[in-house]
Symmetry: C2
Subunit: 139 residues, 2 copies
Amino acid sequence: VQNGTRPDLTLAITRGASRLLTDMGFALVPEFTLPNGRRADLAGLSRKGRIVIVEVKSCREDFTADAKWPSYLEYCDQFYFATDTRFPAGLLPEGEGRIVADAYGGAIIADAEVRTLAGSRRKAMTLSFARQAAFRLTV
Amino acid sequence: VQNGTRPDLTLAITRGASRLLTDMGFALVPEFTLPNGRRADLAGLSRKGRIVIVEVKSCREDFTADAKWPSYLEYCDQFYFATDTRFPAGLLPEGEGRIVADAYGGAIIADAEVRTLAGSRRKAMTLSFARQAAFRLTV
């Protein structure tokens, strides 16, 4: 990482990816806790109920240290990695989506494969998304 | 209303009712927009996906001016009026739930009839709840 610390970079990429997904019509919950107990960096819910998960990778080490990302696939319709432009592209597995982002916005540079969730899983995920979002509101 | 203005009283009752429902395990969205375009004072979503709507009534006039509350019934499993202790109890329709609350908490003094939502309606309501909650988070 040349400029900025790794947390700064993660924050910037998360923000840009969030803007992109918001523009695409997704409602977002950052730091979304999955049923398996792990946290995804961003979960998005479309108007039609489709669920996207985005995992932010700030640098090579951030990706290579993570053996758990495949476990996210079963909880979403589409999965994306989000990185900055300097991330070594060849490192990412083929077939998964990729977003390139900075603090101001982002773009999808590789479409994510669509794995349509089963009805019962979608129902549970939507309920979990709803409750996680609402519990973060200060009522 | 003897003490405080009507908006103050509405806020206090809403806060107390929210605490009660939170203690009961509901995730809450205040000012929830229903599919018919009207806003319910509080919508709650239980861990099992049951939906409750609470309509706060600060005083007699607040209730008598509202001809629309029956239209909320078709969007929830249970419906409650929330009032303070001074609200004229006889005014409220039989059969609907009633919460008495102040700024610090509340209690259910009449259980709400259970009207179980149809699956498609519940699905749409849960999705709407999820997106309304998430859109209020500052990402």
